[in-house]
């Protein structure tokens, strides 16, 4: 029970990060491998404001989100749009965007190393115990989980209840047909990419309240987010959330029962099973 709840709390934040990546990949068709660096940057932001001005990380996210939105939008417009325009096929765009975002990710790590050094950083915020269902948990984990739930919920409502959300979902299904019904695909793709970046950075600020990060920690989160997106199905919000919670629980199980050093191995075992048996995702339909 203890493990289950800890896993679910972790999975909630994972869901947020994976939603960010899913928006970028499902709509803008860019597999953004620099996603984890944005997450770490969000964490650095929360760290910086908390240690220098005692600003709560839950307030910092209102600063981190617009900043990450702006940065992601610029990255999409300046660096990735030319690739979309020059690509002759989906496959070529995939290869190009993977290499370009790898480049970005390394540049990001390099810049953060130069700015903050290679040390681990963490801070103590809301590190008080709280009792849930008979077991004690750290308050910062619970608070981060609740914040993640609220943001995921808002995102879900926005995607399913508004006109802009409808356009975004239409592009995810078929970019060509979306253009035919009068949707400004390039503009909406840029917005989806920027929004995905903002969501990921907020996830980073939340996760930094209870995990220790360092400048090069991003790639592990990128990997986990990718595994979640593939497990849940590209462009599927519900699947992403279920897959993220599932991964959180499995990881916590392995970490507490076998060895904390094997979390990525656990994520990979899940990944292999999904690839072998349900490559279209948990809720995905079999392509005809």
């Amino acid at each position: 029970m203890d493990i289950l709840i800890t896993g679910l709390l972790l999975g909630g934040t994972y869901a947020l990060i994976a939603m960010g990546l899913n928006l970028q990949y499902g709509v803008a068709r860019i597999m953004n491998l620099a996603n984890g660096e944005l997450l770490v940057a969000g964490g650095f932001g929360a760290f910086f404001f908390y240690t220098s001005g005692q600003v709560s990380p839950f307030l910092t996210i209102f600063l981190v989100a617009p900043a990450a939105f702006g940065v992601s939008w610029l990255i999409y417009r300046i660096m990735l749009r030319p690739l979309v325009n020059r690509a002759k096929s989906r496959g070529q765009l995939e290869t190009d965007s993977i290499l370009a975002t790898f480049g970005l990710s390394f540049v990001g790590v390099g810049l953060m190393l130069a700015a903050f050094g290679g040390d681990y950083f963490n801070y103590s915020y809301l590190a008080r115990p709280i009792t849930l269902a008979g077991d004690t948990f750290a308050l910062n984990r619970v608070a981060s989980f609740l914040a993640a739930v609220v943001i995921c919920g808002l995102l879900y409502l926005w995607l399913n209840r508004t006109r802009a959300g409808l356009s975004i979902r239409a592009i995810a299904v078929s970019p060509d047909s979306a253009r035919l019904v009068g949707i400004d695909v390039p503009r909406m793709a840029a917005i989806a990419f920027a929004l995905g970046g903002a969501v990921t950075a907020v996830g980073g600020a939340l996760i930094s309240t209870y995990l220790t990060l360092d400048a090069s920690a991003g790639v592990i989160f990128t990997l986990k987010a990718l595994i979640i997106v593939i497990m849940g199905g590209v462009g599927d919000v519900r699947g992403t959330i279920v897959a993220a919670l599932f991964l959180g629980v499995v990881e916590t199980l392995v970490a507490s029962l076998i060895d904390p050093g094997l979390t990525l191995a656990a994520a990979y075992a899940l990944f292999i099973l999904v690839l072998l048996f349900r490559p279209q995702g948990i809720f995905g339909k079999t392509p005809t």
Binding site: Q92, F102, F106, L223, G261, Y268, P279
Partner: protein, 308 residues
């Protein structure tokens, strides 16, 4: 064989023979640079054999390499060295086949993601196994000198070039070029695309594992974080793409300048190597999509006025 092919063959043999003389001239700094260049030539060329025609970006080099070093590390006391290299090659090929079977039936993205984490996965498992048995690393104490390692790498490079040349002439190589152009067309013309890709992926897997096995004595002490350093995979990708994957000798054109640049950056600004990696990736995507080979071809076309 046409006369041009015979000429190329003779030139390659002479070039490799000249390279093999390096340990006679210097046994210090330049030999160690030569060793790095030979190692990356082997890795990048075998990488390009698979990723060049198929456009699948493999980041698994470090995983295979690490498996190779551990094969030597665990077996050098009981088995002769040459058999360990062969054994490492078999392990590498087997691992590549398993990875290929799981991912190569699907789109390229799954493959990249999977190979990206493979080295980290194997590293975690080995670290865990070592913690269980209570040891931290392995000492590889042999009487193999740097010069011998260098010669073995040159021999391996010759084998890689020969394999690449033979694949290029075979039905498999032809099938792969079609897959690279258009996978649907390839499938419709009766090519078993998954099988061709898995078979070819076994080549870089085996070669990288053999390279790791050969280099293990140089490290003297091996531990998981050293043997499975993810940097290696990225260096190999950059060198191969920088040179160009369209020709067999293309990666070599990227290996030599990048190794020299890397050596000077990492000795003068050790914290900026990640930034260098990132900028190189961006340079390749935005300025040199076909590498130095592509640039050379364009220049040649301009000189001859488009008449080939």
């Amino acid at each position: 064989m046409s006369s041009a092919e015979i000429r190329n063959l003779i030139l390659t043999v002479i070039a490799l023979g000249v390279c093999a003389l390096l340990p006679m001239a210097d046994s210090g700094y330049w030999l160690s640079i030569g060793l790095s260049i030979a190692m990356f030539t082997v890795l990048a060329t075998s990488w390009a054999l698979f990723s060049g025609p198929t456009h699948y970006i493999s980041l698994a080099t470090a995983a295979f390499f690490g498996v190779g070093t551990y094969t030597t590390g665990l077996g050098f006391e009981t088995l002769p060295f040459w058999s360990l290299v062969a054994l490492a090659g078999m392990f590498g090929a087997l691992m590549a086949a398993l990875v290929g079977l799981a991912t190569l039936r699907l789109s390229g993205v799954y493959f990249v993601i999977f190979t990206l984490g493979l080295a980290e996965l194997v590293r975690q498992v080995i670290t865990w196994a070592q913690n269980q048995s209570g040891q931290k690393g392995l000492y590889v104490l042999t009487d193999i000198t740097e010069a011998m390692i260098y010669w073995m790498l040159i021999a391996l490079a010759a084998a890689v070039y020969l394999t690449g040349w033979l694949i290029g002439r075979s039905r498999l190589g032809f099938a792969l070029r079609i897959i690279g152009d258009d996978e649907t067309v390839a499938a419709h013309s009766g090519i078993n695309t998954a099988r061709a890709k898995v078979l070819l992926f076994m080549v870089p897997g085996a070669v990288a594992a053999m390279t790791g096995a050969i280099l293990a004595p140089r490290y003297v002490y091996i531990e998981p974080s050293l043997a499975f350093t993810p940097m290696l995979s990225f260096q190999v990708v950059i060198m191969a793409l920088l040179g160009g994957t369209g020709r067999l000798w293309g990666p070599l054109a990227g290996v030599v300048p990048f190794t020299l640049l890397w050596e000077s950056i990492s000795s003068n600004f050790p914290n900026q190597t990640t930034l260098l990696l990132g900028l190189s990736f961006l340079l390749i995507v935005y300025a040199l999509p076909h590498g130095f080979v592509g640039l050379l071809d364009r220049l040649r076309q301009r000189v001859t006025g488009g008449v080939s």
